[in-house]
Amino acid sequence: MKKSLNQLYGSPLPLVVRPLPPIIPHNPLSWIFWLWEYWFPEPEYNLYDGILHALVLPSETTFYVRIDNGSDINSLWSMGFFGKGTLSRSEPSWYTRTARRLGLQGGEQMTSEEVTAARREERKKFKMMRAQAEAEELARRKKLDEMKEVWAGQDSDSVSTLVDEESKLTSTGVASEAGDSKHELTRTLEESQPAQAAAVLVESSASPEVSGNHATVIRFEDQSIIDSNNKLIQQEYLQLMPQEAFFLSYGLGVLRITDHVTGKPLTSEELLTRFVSANPRFLSQYAVYHHYRSLGWCVRSGVKFGSELLLYKRGPPFSHAEFCIRILTSPGDEQHDWWWNTSIGRVVGGVKKGLVFCYVQGNDTENTAKILDASEGYSIKDILGSYQIREVVYRRWIATRNRD
């Protein structure tokens, strides 16, 4: 499982790296080869295509960038985990899921949604088993009470057996037996691998050859998404956050963004003008995004956890996010009260992530004005370099757990 993850998601960024060939000291040919590669490298770069869409509302305009090309979507997802599939949880997997449902080609892979579904199923089973164990325990106790009543007036012999039985229940019985069975159940749950369960699920129901025993239902509306060659037509696209789009186009230079109205490619400056006009805090937010990306983190939106950004060590398929980043601009919105602080801290602590308050110092108003007033030239690098970042980690500290 892990091995295939490394193969699938080997590159941390959607860029091709060409390492220099090795030099073997006793082989002069390798020297020439090395020199040739050093002096005359073959330029190697990817260029993906994105389209900038504007969502114009009476009060404000929001921009988003979408990627339509299937191979571009795959590359941007698998190399750095950029964007979100519009019909999926995060990784664009609609095609795979739907192809499997309809028994068409392309549904052989297992998707993360299915892994989650299998895990939920396992948990449900575990909870049922636990409830059953608890019910049995209750029945046992009730039976004991009944026996007590029946034997209340009887001879001392049976009473002493009863006492024995009860002491078993109270001293070791209840505490350890019930505890053990719970531990046992927990262990079974931990050992069972939802991914494997999902794989079995996929194998049994998915591949078109096997689907004979699993009747495929093609609904009326499904016909409009199947082409004449009996292939599924892609309905999903990748949506990028403005920060992601700007990082890919300006930072890495691998994304060419076209305005969907004019159909012309946008320069970094043109793109930035639109983003800052829609969001006066874009520059400081981008500076934070860029900061963590440039340190090798996989950065995604943290809206599900009450924070701006999430930091993954390598990416969502490898591990859960390690940190939640809450951006505070300083001076400005940095002085929140403690109720605000604990509401975020408890949410983030509850999902076992670290809470980082990321203080950004920089003048968004001035820089935004500089960008919008195109009369003066400016360097994007200099503007971003004028921001300063400092992190402070807050963690709930429990005195009774820190006494050693």
Partner: protein, 398 residues
């Protein structure tokens, strides 16, 4: 408790749980080790077992409370409160409390701070007298000592930490006129001299060398061909512009354009030039040592934790400047450099504990001075399936 279990349970507060008081019975019987807590029931299930368990537990609690509390005349402590200096003079010294509490003056007389007076009187360990020779009531102790402390929050934090076993001392920065940063500067100079003596200076040099080191391999021709490559393709000014990159390291180091805070990793690296003296309430109030530590009043050593007391209703979260001042007022943790990368990011190089008090309810936060800029996630290669072998081969190749 094993380290792992400790980590897993770190967010569980035992005092949040309902007690099963039967464990007190077990103490009575065996006398020594603490018994385990029972399983918690969520609702009445109508069985005799549950009813009898509850009754037993209740009886155990009453029995524990009924126990007679005795004072032997050997351990009798009494003190006299002097309002004009805000301290109590211990007249009769006895018992183990003075190993960790009170401060002796030049003539050997021990003086207690108001929080210490309340703590000792409250737990029935000391009698307090007016200077006129009349005994002070509990109410009188509370009203005079709280007034001498200034506010009740500090007292609440002190007695909470004392009751769960910590050794608590007033920090020097408790005094608002004390210049903490100047003191820290003196300590730092001392540490620097010590470090030079120990020849540990190489570590510092190595780090500054690494910071300036850039392992980006650039080929001159690719510089020329840049117009043909990336920029031409996008007809755009982008941050990365080379046509060929030899490693991800070189890409990341070129992407690194946002200045960020780098916390000092050693005392000698601290350079808090334009940092202001921390102002109340964001000053360290109490130095705290763990209960098991071999604490000596004369040479207490470095505290395990430093506590700042804040009122939840009167004070907001500290601003960036206030936080920076607070971190500057405490020394760099000596253990952080030996920790794993992820732990360094979670625990930081300097830490302060903030006790936020709302009407007696104490909520504690650990603030850590961390530097994500120092921890490059891309340096460690992704774990390989056959780790030791492949890594060896790779290093040979390069």
């Amino acid at each position: 408790m094993s380290k792992e279990a400790n980590d897993a349970d770190i967010d569980v507060d035992i005092s949040d749980e309902q007690q099963d008081w039967r464990f007190l019975n077990a103490i009575d019987r065996s006398g020594q080790s603490l018994p385990k807590r029972g399983e918690k029931d969520y609702e009445p299930d109508g069985t005799g077992l549950q009813v009898s368990t509850l009754a037993e537990s209740r009886a155990a609690m009453y029995k524990a409370l009924e126990g007679e509390r005795k004072h032997s005349s050997k351990n009798h402590v009494s003190a006299t409160w002097f309002g004009y200096i805000g301290k109590a003079r211990v007249d009769v010294v006895a018992g183990p409390h003075f190993m960790t509490m009170g401060k002796a003056d030049s003539s050997g007389v021990i003086w207690l701070l108001p929080e210490e007076v309340i703590y000792l009187v409250e737990r029935g360990s000391m009698e307090c007298w007016w200077p006129e020779g009349a005994p002070m009531s509990l109410q009188a102790v509370y009203s005079t000592c709280i007034k001498a402390m200034g506010d009740i929050e500090k007292l609440q934090v002190y007695s909470y930490l004392r009751k769960i076993g910590f050794i608590v001392q007033r920090a020097t920065s408790y005094d608002p006129d004390f210049r903490v940063l100047e003191q820290r500067k003196l300590e730092r100079e001392e540490a620097l001299i010590n470090m030079r003596n120990k020849a540990g200076y190489s570590g510092l040099l190595r780090r500054s060398f690494l910071m300036g080191y850039n392992n980006c391999v650039v080929s001159p021709l690719s510089f020329i061909s840049r117009q043909l490559a990336r920029r031409a393709a996008t007809s755009n000014s982008t941050l990365l512009w080379r046509s060929v990159y030899r490693s991800y390291e070189s890409i990341y180091s070129e992407l690194n354009i946002i200045p960020c805070h780098r916390p000092p990793h050693l005392e000698a690296e601290v350079s808090d030039l334009d940092i202001e003296e921390p102002a109340a309430p964001f000053r360290v109030m109490f130095d705290v040592w763990k209960p098991g530590s071999t604490f000596k009043k004369a040479s207490p050593g470095k505290p395990d934790y430093r506590i700042v007391v804040v009122s939840a209703r009167d004070d907001k979260m500290p601003s960036l400047n206030q936080t920076a001042s607070l971190f500057a007022s405490v020394p760099v943790s000596e253990t952080t450099k030996d920790k794993s990368q992820m732990q360094r990011l979670k625990e930081g190089w300097r830490t302060v504990i903030l006790a936020v008090v709302d009407a007696g309810i104490i909520s504690l936060f650990k603030l850590s001075d961390v530097g994500f800029g120092d921890e490059k996630m891309y340096i460690r290669p992704p774990p390989k399936p056959r780790a030791p072998r492949t890594r060896k081969n790779q290093s040979k190749k390069s």
